[in-house]
Structures are given as structure tokens and as C-alpha cells.
């Protein structure tokens, strides 16, 4: 595996963005810090209105930060207009020029940079090949499908070889199957071009499958930055745990602290071992999270006990809803196998075994 270069492509330092004045003012970004490494597929994930698109627009130069610095390879680019930044954007709406052909759309940036004609032509050919659109080069952008427009938008943004490529929810307009295809395509393109990708999405699955690292955002703040595994398995705060995937929340209090972990007595009286994020000293009442697939049902011997209240079949897996004895609900997910349907029936008393290291104490 190649060593990840340590150089930062983009570094956002203490950036705030406030829209409007006085009582109408909206804080879109509140003192955001994030460093994005070179050649990284980095995702900004969050619900709409969390500030992810604002951050992207600040990096692109369409808006200017109220406060803070944005560094590109160590240089502050925050005051530069968009046409002076070696950064290109793939827009959510694609924003292809309707009066130009596919090839002319792709060559636009290079022409604006004043590159010689031979170089432009060669680069356009290369880009058309990269996104597999050679046959449609002379088509009008109105005559091609949504997925093809998406490819042209990508080729157009990649053609000038930007230092960083910004992607603003580029897959949201595509249907499910095409979206899956383009996810793989995007990963391939990122790998082949070696350009830093900053990808904005509200789709947690998209973020998990594509990114090297994810920043989860909410209400103008970055709540957690980490690899998909870290974000999913070790969410730091309740919002992250709740926003990404399905989660069981258990309320309890700290019984005993140990290095990197703690014993938590939950409301029903059971005691479970949970991990604790580095540098966090939990005390008093806490919330513990357990992912549904990190627990399993058993006849007896688990940490939690309850009664099966519902069974939901999803094809690839089945969800077992358990009414806990001390109150509250807990969901257990089990991978389905053709020859093992299980014998559990609604109303059966069950015991829940929480795997080692599966429980995590949240920061709030």
C-alpha cells in the first residue's frame, strides 16, 4: 500500500461564515478547522443546512469567509476570486454550458487558461476517453442523458488538472443504479488522476463507501473527522452515531473507569464494558451506543434481556426488535443465510449478547 503523503492540500483554519446582519444573521460556519491531505478522497457529510456546501463554496471562491484562513498547499487563497484558484467544481446541477458542445464544455477551462490549441485538443481527447464519452463529443449537452451530463461535468472540471476537485452532491440527481455506478467511477477517477477530491453529500452510505476520510457536520460545526470505519464504529457524539447508520442508545451511569474504557451500569441494571474515545473522561450519566450488527440474540447468557417485539425482513438481513426488560428498545441485525432462518418468534423472551468492544460511550 502506498504511503499517504503528509502534505495538506487544503487547510481550513478558524473559518466562519455569517450571512446577513443583525437579527436576520445566520451563522453558516462557526470556527471550522479541517486539514485535507493531498490525493485524499475527503467527504463533507451532513444534513441539509449543516454548512457543508457553504464550506465548499468558500474553498471554490464563490463566497468569502467572514473570518479565518483557507490554505491551498500552505498559501492563503481566501481572498482570491474563483478564476485565480487552481480548484474546480462539479456542480450539483452540473451547470454545463447549453450553448456549447460536449467537447467545447470540456475545453472551456483550458481555453480560458490560454493553453495552446494542440494541448487543449489532446487534453480534451484524453478527458473524453477517461469518462468514456468519445462518441458524444460533438453532441449538444441538451441531447445527452443525466448520467452522461454528469460525466461531462466531471471531465470539464478535471481537464485543467486542478489541485483540488470539489464535488457538490454530484450524484443526487441520478437514479439508484446509476448512482452506484458513478460511485465506483468516481473512485476510479480519483485513483487514476491522483487529484484531491472534496466531496459533499448528505448520503451517509455514499460517504462510507467512497471516502478515505469523512468530516461529519452539523449546524455549522465539524463534529468528527475520521475514516469511515472510525466514524461508523467509534462515533464520538450522539449526532454522528444517530446520523450514520442505525444505532441503539442505552442510558446509564459510569460504574468504573479503566484505560480506554469504562464499565457502565445501564438503566435496566445490567453492566456492560464500553470503550471511550481518547482523551475523554466520562463521569456520571452517559449514553452508550451499540450498532445493531455488533450484537446477537441468544437464548440466555447475554448482557441484556427482553422480549422480541418485531421481526423485519430486509432480504440481506433481518432486524429483531427487542423490548428491553428495564424499558427501551434494542435492535439486533442478523445477516440472512438461506439454510438458517432461525426459530425466533414474536413474544419470545431473548437475551442480547453485545460483542467485545462493540459498545462505546458517547461524548454527550
Amino acid at each position: 500500500m502506498p504511503e499517504t503523503p503528509e502534505r495538506n492540500a487544503i487547510e481550513v483554519r478558524g473559518v466562519s461564515k455569517v450571512f446577513g446582519f443583525g437579527p436576520d444573521k445566520v451563522v453558516a460556519l462557526d470556527d471550522v478547522h479541517v486539514a485535507i491531505r493531498e490525493n485524499e478522497f475527503f467527504t463533507l457529510l451532513g444534513p441539509s443546512g449543516c454548512g457543508k456546501t457553504t464550506l465548499l463554496r468558500l474553498i471554490a471562491g464563490f463566497d468569502f469567509p467572514t473570518d479565518g484562513e483557507i490554505l491551498l498547499h500552505g498559501q492563503d487563497i481566501a481572498p482570491l476570486p474563483p478564476h485565480k484558484r487552481p480548484v474546480n467544481t462539479v456542480f450539483q446541477s452540473y451547470a454545463l454550458f447549453p450553448h456549447l458542445t460536449v467537447a467545447k464544455n470540456i475545453s472551456f477551462g483550458l481555453e480560458m487558461l490560454g493553453r495552446p490549441k494542440d494541448e487543449v485538443d489532446a487534453r480534451v481527447d484524453e478527458m473524453l476517453k477517461l469518462v468514456r464519452m468519445e462518441e458524444l463529443r460533438n453532441r449538444s449537452t441538451a441531447q445527452i442523458s443525466g448520467g452522461q451530463q454528469q460525466r461531462v461535468a466531471l471531465a470539464r472540471a478535471l481537464a485543467p488538472q486542478p489541485k483540488v476537485l470539489l464535488l457538490d452532491e454530484p450524484l443526487s440527481a441520478l437514479d439508484y443504479k446509476l448512482r452506484k455506478e458513478m460511485q465506483i467511477e468516481l473512485k476510479r477517477l480519483q485513483h487514476e488522476t491522483g487529484i484531491t477530491f472534496i466531496f459533499v453529500t448528505h448520503d451517509q452510505e455514499e460517504a462510507l463507501t467512497m471516502s478515505a476520510r469523512i468530516a461529519v457536520m452539523s449546524a455549522g460545526n465539524i463534529l468528527q473527522i475520521g475514516s469511515p470505519e472510525a466514524i461508523y464504529d467509534r462515533p464520538a457524539v450522539r449526532f454522528v452515531a444517530d446520523f450514520i447508520g442505525e444505532t441503539n442508545f442505552l442510558e446509564g451511569s459510569i460504574e468504573e473507569r479503566a484505560a480506554g474504557g469504562a464499565r457502565v451500569r445501564i438503566s435496566s441494571g445490567a453492566v456492560i464494558d464500553a470503550s471511550v474515545a481518547e482523551g475523554f473522561q466520562p463521569s456520571g450519566r452517559v449514553t452508550v451506543v451499540v450498532r445493531p450488527e455488533h450484537a446477537r440474540l441468544s437464548a440466555e447468557g447475554g448482557q441484556l434481556a427482553g422480549r422480541l417485539s418485531n421481526i423485519v425482513y430486509f432480504g440481506t438481513d433481518t432486524h429483531f426488535h427487542v423490548e428491553l426488560d428495564g424499558g427501551g428498545e434494542f435492535i439486533v441485525r442478523r445477516q440472512n443465510a438461506r439454510d438458517d432462518r432461525g426459530t425466533a418468534r414474536i413474544g419470545d423472551p431473548v437475551s442480547i449478547v453485545i460483542g467485545a468492544g462493540a459498545a462505546q460511550v458517547l461524548r454527550d
Binding site: 456542480f91 451547470a95 454550458f97 456549447l100 458542445t101 480560458m112
Partner: protein
């Protein structure tokens, strides 16, 4: 022939007849308002002028000849009608100038309105249309009041010591141009606004993102996309400018005639209706030729960019 085929044929027949019947009012209006009068003008242009205006029903091509040629009184030879030619040229020149100037003023105005928030756009459009509430003649006299030698403009410039004596603007081509630009500006702004309002401003952002400067974004993205508005506005300004009557009359003082004034002269004091008719048709032909060139040019540059 089978029963059904017969019925179908009859239904179709009825349908065609019904369509003619339904479009009859529209066709009648088109004939009465457009083709009919034009035919009258064509017929009149081939008749002989009557002594007190009107026409005598005698075929003559004199009117058409004197549109372009004039008989030298002393030698009896035919030469180019310099006076008419000059008026043609002035009309075309002033109309072109007016079109370009209204485009230059109207484009930023329309862009400004189109980039305001939706609610304020209506207000700005309303402001643009306010001059239409006043009679054209009164507006033209108002322009005269501004530019005449003792008018606001000259008095202010002399008072401020910028010039020592009033500049003669009134009764020159400049006065006509100023008047026409003022009168026809809204006709340029409104179609420009209509096409800019539909412009997707994310394309402008995309242009900036792809290293285009503000000027390049204007010439490579905005102008090609709002071209229908530019074409429509130019046509709406150019055509009435060519035939303008009131503005050159009031601001040109009758000395600087345009085609409209020349035509009026033939039907009024000149008592030469056939010549008036021939001149009117010449104006129509100039407009048609200009339009053909313009539309073809627009289509061509469209293809070049597309």
C-alpha cells in the same frame, strides 16, 4: 367504399371546413390590417399624383423613378436623387446608432434588474415602464427642453464654467439620436430582461470556476445565452427608429429629415401621394432586408458558437 371509411372521410371534411370557419376572423383581421393596406400602397405607388393630393387613376412609374433618381431641371438628364439618398443614409445611420446605444445602456440595466431579488425585480420593471404613461410628443418636447441652447443642460454647463457658450445640440443629428435613444430604451430593456431572467446564474459561477475572467464570462457565456433577447430588442428598436417621425420632426427641426418625415412631406405639403407610397414601400424593403441580414448573422454566429 365501406360505411366507416365514408364516415371518416365526411368527418375529416367537416373538420377542415370547421377549421377554416374558426380561423376566419383572424384571417379577416390579417387581411384588413396588413395585406389590404399594403396592396393599396402598392397600387398608389404606380399612379399619377392629383393636383390637390390624392391620385389620378393613370398608370405611371414616375414615383418609383423619382425615389432614386432626379431630373436635372436645366439639362433634362437623370441623376441620382442625392436628397433622398442622404435621407436614407441618415435614417439607417441614426437607427443603427440608436440600436447600438440602447443595447449599450439597456444591457447593464437589464442585467441589474435580472440579478435583483424576485420581489424587487417587479418594482424595477415598473419603473422602466413609467415613461410609457406620458404621450410621446410631450416626452420629446421634454428632451428638447433639456438640450436646447437655453435648456437645463447648456445652462448648467455654462454655469459651472465647463463651457463658455452653449453647445448647439438641438436640430442636429445628435438631438435626434438622444431623443430616439430615450424613447426606445425600454423596448430594448424589456426583451433583454426577459431572456436574462431565464439565465441560469450557476453557469456564470461555472465560468468563473473554469478560470474565465469577468469579461470572458460576459462574452463567452452571458452574451451567447441571452442572444435571443439581444436580437429581439435590436429588432424592436431598429424598425421604429427607421420610420421615426415625431422625434426627428421636433428635435431635428424639419431640417434633418428622416424617412418618416420625407414620407409625411409627400402626403402633406408635397401633394405627391404616389411618391409617398413608393417611399413607404422602400422603407418596408429596407426593414425586410436589414432583418434578413440580421437574423441570418445571428443564426450563423449561433452555429459558430454551438
Amino acid at each position: 367504399m365501406s360505411q366507416t371509411a365514408e364516415t371518416a372521410r365526411k368527418a375529416e371534411h367537416d373538420d377542415v371546413r370547421k377549421r377554416w370557419l374558426l380561423s376566419a376572423p383572424a384571417l379577416a383581421i390579417i387581411f384588413m390590417a396588413s395585406i389590404g393596406p399594403l396592396l393599396v400602397v402598392v397600387v398608389y405607388s404606380f399612379l399619377t399624383p392629383g393636383p390637390y393630393g390624392d391620385v389620378k387613376w393613370a398608370f405611371s412609374t414616375d414615383a418609383w423613378i423619382s425615389v432614386f433618381l432626379q431630373r436635372d431641371i436645366f439639362e433634362g438628364t437623370l441623376g441620382i436623387a442625392d436628397a433622398h439618398l442622404q435621407i436614407f443614409l441618415r435614417s439607417v445611420r441614426l437607427s443603427l446608432f440608436t440600436t447600438i446605444a440602447t443595447l449599450a445602456f439597456g444591457f447593464p440595466t437589464a442585467y441589474f434588474i435580472a440579478t435583483r431579488p424576485q420581489r424587487t425585480q417587479a418594482l424595477w420593471l415598473f419603473v422602466i415602464t413609467i415613461p410609457f404613461w406620458t404621450n410621446l410628443l410631450i416626452r420629446t418636447f421634454a428632451v428638447q427642453e433639456v438640450i436646447r441652447n437655453e435648456g437645463i443642460l447648456n445652462t448648467a454647463l455654462v454655469g459651472l464654467g465647463i463651457i463658455s457658450a452653449p453647445i448647439q445640440i438641438l436640430y442636429t443629428d445628435w438631438a435626434i439620436a438622444i431623443g430616439m435613444i430615450y424613447v426606445y430604451l425600454p423596448l430594448m430593456v424589456l426583451p433583454l430582461y426577459a431572456s436574462m431572467e431565464k439565465l441560469d446564474f450557476r453557469l456564470v459561477e461555472a465560468g468563473y470556476d473554469l478560470y474565465a475572467t469577468r469579461f470572458r464570462v460576459l462574452t463567452r457565456i452571458i452574451v451567447p445565452l441571452v442572444k435571443p433577447g439581444i436580437v429581439a430588442g435590436s429588432i424592436l428598436v431598429f424598425i421604429p427608429s427607421l420610420g421615426a417621425y415625431v422625434t426627428p420632426r421636433v428635435l431635428g427641426g424639419g431640417k434633418q429629415m428622416m424617412l418618416g418625415n420625407l414620407i409625411e412631406l409627400q402626403f402633406g405639403a408635397g401633394r405627391n401621394w404616389p411618391l409617398g407610397a413608393a417611399l413607404a414601400l422602400t422603407l418596408t424593403v429596407i426593414v425586410m432586408v436589414a432583418l434578413l441580414f440580421y437574423v441570418r448573422y445571428a443564426a450563423q454566429s449561433e452555429r459558430r458558437h454551438g
